[in-house]
Symmetry: C4
Subunit: 331 residues, 4 copies
């Protein structure tokens, strides 16, 4: 783990209430997937090249038409007000300052109109009152979101021992509308039509499922097991990333999250074909530890670290990061 992230994590553990900290840290069931995530990236080894001119290393990417300084993005996490008084507004300032992009959660602590200060996408759940979801993504579009990230792996909440009361509070707000287990692939088209925005499906862990989503109108996918908070023992994202990339075959961007904690982790993800990565818990740690400046520092530190190891690996741009750069650790 990058030392700055480790510092933020320690500081967050100090300043957050035990309940909030447990809510952030927890996973579903036996927490196998949550525990696997970081280790899974550490199982990869690198096969660098030597004597390439790396005087200029470029980490910039373009995602769905948006130019970004970095492929390290802030993923959707709920209720930033638990970590900082200014909630998502504070996060957004840090993200924008780093030249990155924020995915704002449906479960944000603030009205989405108040939040963003830079490029952002909107994360949507499908609730039982379908119209409500459609209205929400239209509102996000009006407020400036340039894409919808549709969470596909929450037909209902996973069992997460030890954080249930706060979880309930966050996930079943006053209006009481909850996730709709009957939501099917048709939702992708519905959200695209309602918002007029590209829709990425988050939670994809199979190549065939990625194709099904694209065929149903998705503009891209996010390889994710929801931080291990939904289906325990779901496969680590790194293990299926290449399969999904191959199946998507360039039809849209592939993003990935889950346990990425260093420039080396990001380099591995990009080498395996991801167009960008999403950080979940590290952004919350930073937000709790130091607000927008810490969020900015977190994203910039990982980006600088990525640039550093790209050069050491002989790669000058993210397009030079290809699968032959990584190989599994031998036991």
């Amino acid at each position: 783990m990058h030392p700055l992230l480790a510092d933020h994590r320690s500081e967050a553990a100090r300043v957050l209430s035990e309940e909030v900290h447990a809510y952030y840290a927890g996973g579903a069931g036996g927490q196998v997937s949550t525990g696997d995530a970081e280790d899974a990236w550490l199982r990869l080894r690198l096969r660098p090249r030597v004597l390439r001119d790396v005087s200029h290393v470029d980490t910039a990417v373009t995602l769905l038409g948006t130019d970004l300084a970095t492929p390290v993005l802030a993923g959707p996490t709920a209720a930033h007000g638990l970590a900082h008084a200014d909630g998502e507004s504070e996060t957004a300032r840090g993200v924008a300052a780093a030249g990155s992009l924020l995915v704002v959660s449906t479960r944000a602590s603030q009205p989405l109109e108040r939040i963003p200060a830079g490029p952002w996408w909107f994360q949507a759940y499908v609730v039982r009152d379908r119209q409500r979801t459609l209205d929400l993504v239209r509102r996000a579009s009006d407020a400036g979101a340039t894409a919808v990230v549709l969470t596909g792996d929450v037909p209902y909440l996973g069992n997460r021992p030890g954080a249930s009361r706060l979880q309930l509070q966050v996930n079943a707000p006053d209006d009481g509308d909850v996730a709709d287990p009957s939501a099917g692939l048709e939702v992708i088209g519905d959200l695209a039509a309602a918002s007029g925005l590209p829709v990425l499906v988050k939670g994809v862990l199979r190549g065939d499922d990625a194709q099904v989503c694209l065929d149903a109108g998705a503009a891209g996918v996010v390889v994710s097991n929801h931080g291990g908070r939904q289906l325990d023992r779901a496969v680590p994202t790194v293990d299926v990333l290449a399969e999904v990339v191959e199946a998507v075959d360039g039809r849209g961007p592939v993003l990935v999250d889950g346990g990425l904690r260093s420039g080396l982790d990001v380099l591995c993800a990009l080498a395996l074909g991801a167009d960008a990565v999403l950080l979940g818990r590290p952004v919350l740690w930073a937000l709790a530890a130091g607000g927008a400046p810490a969020v900015q520092a977190c994203l910039e530190a990982l980006t600088a670290d990525l640039s550093h190891v790209m050069g050491l690996a002989g790669a000058r741009s993210t397009t030079e990061l290809r699968p032959d750069l990584v190989s599994p650790r031998r036991a």
Copy 2:
């Protein structure tokens, strides 16, 4: 392990005598197979699907013509009187209330006519007085059993260090008739003829062996290593389940036991082709901890857990659970 099972296990350890507890827990030889069993299921990872309508998840199965609410069954274990004063009657009440099925052991603490309150099968050993075995399965048939589960892996008892005195008591009852090592495949047909019931062979750990049993008249097989209590270092059942399922090729039901402790374990077993699973020790823990209500709670909890994770995996019925849903953990 599902939290309720863990609670039952703790409570059973509290209320049972040390001797009985050791008898339940023990395995053969170096106890390698006993120790492997639970871990073997944990080595599998899941590859769920997203955005499937899972508003209705159905765990019901039909086994040899019997409709059951759940594929989680109570396997044959000896001498329930050691765990509860009402012995197998108590177990049967809990199993029936859960809409499940009980496999009654030859070594039951009660006459089999007194026991069952719902669908049940009868587990048979082959003893040296062959006629005695034939009479027993006929008696079971008359009493309402709808299938015979023939234990195939006990030509004689495995060496189980540390539980020998009680084991002897349980397995060599007053009449003194013991297992018959000369029993061969012809026994399958003999028991079917005597009982007029379908006969499943329990203890199968190879595809070719499953075919040999079916060719000899078996109606199905139970993939089992006898809880590690017979041949130590016998392969974990999960490792051979797919091979057996492929070899059986739909000619009859394939059940599996050994270390299944959660809805995720059951989901994996069904995905690999099992038609149902048998619980051994967990039912005894429940019986000791709380009698029929606890047995019912145990089976219902695993069934609910199965339903929960099926939905999270995008599967609406057990027929949608296929091998591509699981993959081995990477090291």
Copy 3:
């Protein structure tokens, strides 16, 4: 490990001097091979068959024309006088009483004419005075040995930290003749001619090497890494046994040693194609712990254990133990 062997080991540790105990236990270099040996067998899992008539299980084998009650033999180890006042004579009595065979070491504490009480083979080193070796095997033949086991993996002694003084004493006796590093494959024929006996080469760890030895006149091979006392990090014998068996292709017996400690280990070795196994340290433990009766008990216990697990695996004779009975553990 079989409980009786563990008891003998503990008792031997109690009664032997620290120096002798260290000499028995030690291996070469970092002692990797010595440490690997027992664990390597434990990595195998079994795939038993059910419902075979196993009322008669036969462990008898015939090796180079000699009928033996068991395939569990006593391998060549040096200087039994360190473990028991009566040295190899005592060992030989125990081995004969168990219906087994003893391989007497060149470094025996007693003249080979005094030792054997049953079927025995003679282990030969090649020393610098070649004639001396030839005279010795002729003497062994005259004294009743029915085969020569030529140690092929000692061109000189491996570096064994911590036991050097006693080792020197054992391996460089008064006459001072030491191992001849110039010994080549021609020695096989020379020893056969001098003794008129079949010659097995001990230390073979490769299929191609087995063929080379047979082509040079060997009557069989012993798969061995010398208990880890010669080339450290030599492959565990279990890992190359099948390769050697395939290469030998029935041209002569294949024996194996190294870390075999239970009936299950022996079953695995036979299933992988070994005709018999050699015990090294366990016989020394038994000899130190209780003389001939303990040696007999050790061999009989492993034989009984072998018979027991053969029956549980559905095998009636050693010829029914085939490679499909074992499979590697999955991690």
Copy 4:
């Protein structure tokens, strides 16, 4: 690890300042590659041959026309003055006495004209003032170096936590010229032309990269991950050695470094196709522990150990060490 190296390491830890010791020991990032290095060699197992005449075992090699008594060479490490008052001169005396070869670092504590007492090569970094590098290799050639080892994996320094102040001092000397990240493959030809010497590229970890270097004029390659001090999680050298050897296909020598600590490690490297190995930290430990005599003893001990295990493996010369001699450990 060879006992003498372990002794030197302990003694070095005693006599060196904490800062220098940490500078030697440290690696980049999470120090994964540094930690992997020694263990990676220990994962190999050996498949020796028996009964070969090994009365004469020859460890001599010829590298780029230079005859050496041993394939165990002293690799380039910086600032020997930190370990011994006489710096590289002292090292060179020990290396020459052992019949080995020293690769002198650009960051040597002494002018390169003062240092060597035997065969030596010169290690070059490419600095921003390219002419300076060219002048330096010409100077090395004039002073008697017979080859240039071009470090290809330092476009800039890797992040090495905990040793930064001293590292800075060593790597950014008074003149302030630092590594040039714009250096490309053309440097190989430039250095060859300027020095009139063969140029080996150090840091190669891929077969295709080795070919690219040879095509650009390299005379050979050194498989190295810089002791884990540049790109953390770079693959262990042993894992890519065979790939590089196959790609080089005899067009020039292939050397390897990284975690080699015993004759068995060296034997494995040579069996996988390396022409020689480089020791890094062990030479520094020896230098600190006992100056030239200890350096000589270190190299001679590993050479004697290599000869010893070659004989035990049935190999008479380094040309008889081939890939079939090693196989991966089974888990």
